[in-house]
């Protein structure tokens, strides 16, 4: 155990000595980090990892940040580094991993995820995008929606239906699609804030080489589940300071507006207490998971923050009184640049999606109920039907 720490520390020292962060372009540093196995410590050697436990990675990241090295790539290529890498690690061939992992980590190639469709939201396994084999290629037609970073992406993780006559979970196949291929049409999808963080993606006779297939034909659902598990871990994440984010904004607004109403104060303190309890739960979950004793505390974060973010931003808008009826930046139909915390009114609108994106709160409650508490599932009428016979609309 302590040998592992010593090995990691020595490799970090070596990386920092050979590539002093102050004098090294960030992509070059990220590449060198990958080559030394310090990108995803739990990946096998040669694929950006060292074959160690996951918890070593947070130590590596902390040491790099302390030395002034950027870890911005993890945000810039969020879908790739947090989810795509996990999919490739679990399901891809060595050749595929060699092709994709390094440029993903250096952000030379941005990744996106193409699961949801207009007709397949919570029931994503019911999706309709078709892929038909044509020799060594697949021809894809269909529409995906709510795709983050699609307009900047080189690669997309796409789930398609390859066997419409099989029951819905069994007829799916997973590909990595080149988003610059002919027939891929990415259009901004404006959400209720006016901004377009997401895109709609249309596939018109897009050709994907069979070499870009992940895992077996028909195994797409199992690959998709790996992706979704990684997504929920990323969204539920911990590590934020006390009184930061939306609750910090609420406290700041309370002070700025000079509010002193006892009812509002109690409501603010109620939200503060709930946010702090959720934050402590994330910390406890991380610690228990890295100690190898994961428990139910690790599953509640996504749901808790979705509820809290909605309640807190609604409250902060109330604190503004009639100012809360204004929308300071106006509804410009633009693509936002980067991730920044919106003001209370925009936050009130944006957080409506927190209980929808990455698994609706209803689905999260099902998961807690069934997988954590062991409650019986809902009877599924569509489970064994051929996909073509399942009612849709």
């Amino acid at each position: 155990m302590s040998e592992d720490y010593a090995r990691v520390d020595a490799l970090v020292d070596e990386l920092l000595a050979d590539h002093p962060p102050a004098d090294t372009p960030e992509r070059e540093l990220w590449g060198a980090q990958y080559d030394r196995g310090l990108a995803w410590a739990w990946h096998p050697e040669g694929f950006g990892g060292l074959g160690l436990e996951r918890r070593h990675q947070s130590r590596i990241n902390q040491r790099l940040e302390d030395a002034g090295a950027s870890t911005e790539n993890r945000l810039r290529n969020l879908l790739g580094i947090a989810m795509g890498a996990g999919v490739l690690d679990a399901h891809a061939s060595d050749e595929q991993k060699h092709r994709w992992l390094r440029p993903m980590f250096t952000t030379e190639e941005i990744w996106c995820q193409l699961f949801s469709e207009p007709g397949a939201g919570s029931d994503v396994a019911g999706l309709a995008t078709r892929a038909i084999r044509d020799g060594e290629e697949w021809v894809v037609n269909g529409q995906k929606v709510w795709t983050t970073l699609a307009h900047l992406s080189k690669w997309g993780m796409v789930v398609t239906r390859t066997d419409p006559d099989a029951p819905k979970h069994q007829g799916l196949t997973y590909f990595i699609v080149d988003m610059t291929s002919p027939g891929v049409d990415v259009r901004p999808l404006h959400q209720i804030t006016g901004e377009a963080e997401f895109s709609e993606v249309f596939f018109n006779d897009v050709r994907i080489p069979d070499a870009n297939r992940i895992d077996a034909v028909g195994a797409g659902w199992r690959v998709a589940l790996t992706t979704l598990m990684n997504e929920r871990v990323a969204i539920g994440g911990a590590g934020t300071p006390r009184e930061s984010g939306y609750i910090g904004q609420a406290v700041q607004t309370w002070r700025d507006t000079g509010a002193d109403d006892p009812v509002l104060r109690d409501e603010l303190l109620h939200l503060w207490a709930e946010a702090e309890a959720a934050r402590l739960t994330s910390i406890r979950a991380n610690e228990m998971a890295s100690a190898g004793i994961p428990g139910p505390e690790g599953s509640t974060g996504k749901l808790a923050w979705a509820n809290l973010n909605k309640e807190i931003t609604a409250f902060t808008t109330d604190l503004l009184g009639l100012d809360g009826t204004l929308y300071p930046d106006g509804y410009e139909l633009v693509r936002p640049s980067g991730f920044s915390q919106p003001g209370p009114q925009k936050g009130f609108l944006r957080t409506r999606a927190n209980s929808i994106e990455g698994g609706t709160s209803e689905i999260m409650l099902n998961i807690l109920g069934e997988r954590v508490l062991g409650l019986p599932g809902e009877p599924r009428v569509d489970k064994d039907l051929p996909w073509t016979e399942v009612p849709r609309g």
Binding site: L269, A273, A277, T300, N366, G374, L375, P376, G377
Partner: protein, 377 residues
């Protein structure tokens, strides 16, 4: 935001042992059957049970080894309290081994501690904290009860209410105003002029008494410590709130388990009721509230030695755990339907414990007020 104390949530082997020993004893040897017998008895107190707890060393768990205890920390005591909360353990443990013991540790001189704590560690002597006087005033640092100096003695006059464990106690710790600030006095339960009346309690597993002090004379040495005790008493209440939160977490978790177990086996319309989302989601929300309360309560126990942070963490734990327990205990009855509303079913024992506990040291609104003062809101 200043740097917060580093805490570790992972349990030690010793804590795991305390948890498993306590759970096994409470489930096998106490059980809700015995809880019911005790709560329906005249006194709500069972000397046999108390003796069993004392023989296991529980009252002395957090008393130093030099004074006959085990010298463990608030974290270990909280582990034990979570387990005791799961079974709604009846009797004066919280009143004497937690509240009165903590008050003596925080307020008393070494000589006074040497006199009282060894007897409390063995369970031979029981104490109770008598600090509340009016229904919604939980700031116990400005009592109406007066203590006046008469020669070498103090004479106390006043009223105390909601004194849990008051009837069983061998001595009471009574707060009073003196001409030198607020103080807490040790008053023997046989003192002349002292009346202890048991009142019917919402939570019959935790009987409480109303205390009248009609010119009760005590020795000059009966005053705990020296100087004004207001800050010390606030700290006692903070620690008590953190301990109570641990007990609340245990009770809430047990209610959730009862609901989940029932939802798996109870069938209506040909399906287990837990397969319906209205029930499943209710149970999942119980889980979330229990986990949040657990985090807040365990955090508070772990910062007990950091006064500034305890001033935040204790009311945080109190507010979150109180609301969680009352909610989960109430929903537990709803999940059970009609059977959950019967006297025969155990759900009501938890609801009563939950509601009474949420008021004992200050309701959630009061805890949030304290929290707000601590964080500058």
């Amino acid at each position: 935001m200043a740097d917060l104390p580093a805490v570790s949530f992972a349990p030690t082997e010793e804590q795991e042992l305390i948890r498993s020993t306590a759970r096994q004893y409470l489930e096998d040897r106490v059980g809700l059957g015995r809880v019911r017998e005790i709560m329906m008895s005249d006194q709500g107190f069972d000397r046999v049970l108390w003796k069993e707890l004392a023989d296991m060393g529980w009252p002395g768990l957090a008393i130093s080894e030099g004074l006959g205890g085990s010298g463990l920390s608030p974290v270990e005591m909280s582990v034990l309290l979570e387990e005791m909360g799961r079974l709604v353990t009846p009797g004066p443990f919280f009143a004497s081994a937690v509240l009165a013991t903590t008050a003596i540790q925080e307020l008393a001189t070494p000589e006074q501690q040497g006199d009282l704590l060894p007897r409390m560690a063995t369970g031979d002597t029981l104490g109770a904290l008598a600090i509340f006087e009016s229904a919604r005033n939980w700031d116990a640092t400005a009592p109406q009860t007066m203590a006046s100096r008469e020669g070498d003695s103090w004479v106390l006059r006043g009223l105390k209410r909601s004194v849990i464990g008051g009837a069983e106690a061998d001595f009471l710790l009574v707060s009073a105003v003196t001409n030198q600030g607020m103080a807490v006095f040790v008053v023997g339960s046989d003192a002349s002029g002292l009346t202890v009346e048991t009142e019917p309690a919402l939570d019959p597993t935790r009987p409480q008494a109303r205390i009248t002090l009609d010119s009760v004379g005590v020795d000059g040495s009966a005053r705990l410590g020296t100087g004004d005790s207001a800050d010390g008493l606030r700290r006692v209440i903070s620690l008590g709130t953190a301990y109570l939160a641990a007990e609340q977490v245990g009770g809430a978790e047990r209610c959730m388990e009862m609901s989940v177990d029932y939802a798996k086996t109870r069938h209506q319309f040909g399906r287990p009721i837990g397969s319906y989302q209205s029930i499943k989601h209710r149970c999942a929300n119980m889980l979330m509230k229990v986990e949040h309360a657990k985090s807040a309560a365990r955090y508070a126990a772990r910062v007990a030695d950091h006064p500034d942070e305890l001033a935040v963490a204790a009311p945080l734990a109190g507010a979150v755990a109180s609301e969680a327990y009352v909610w989960v205990a109430g929903e537990n009855i709803q999940v059970h339907g009609g059977i959950g509303f019967t006297w025969e079913h155990d759900a009501h024992i938890y609801l009563k414990r939950a509601k009474a506990s949420s008021l004992l040291l200050g309701d959630a609104r009061h805890q949030r007020d304290l929290l707000g003062r601590a964080i500058g809101i």
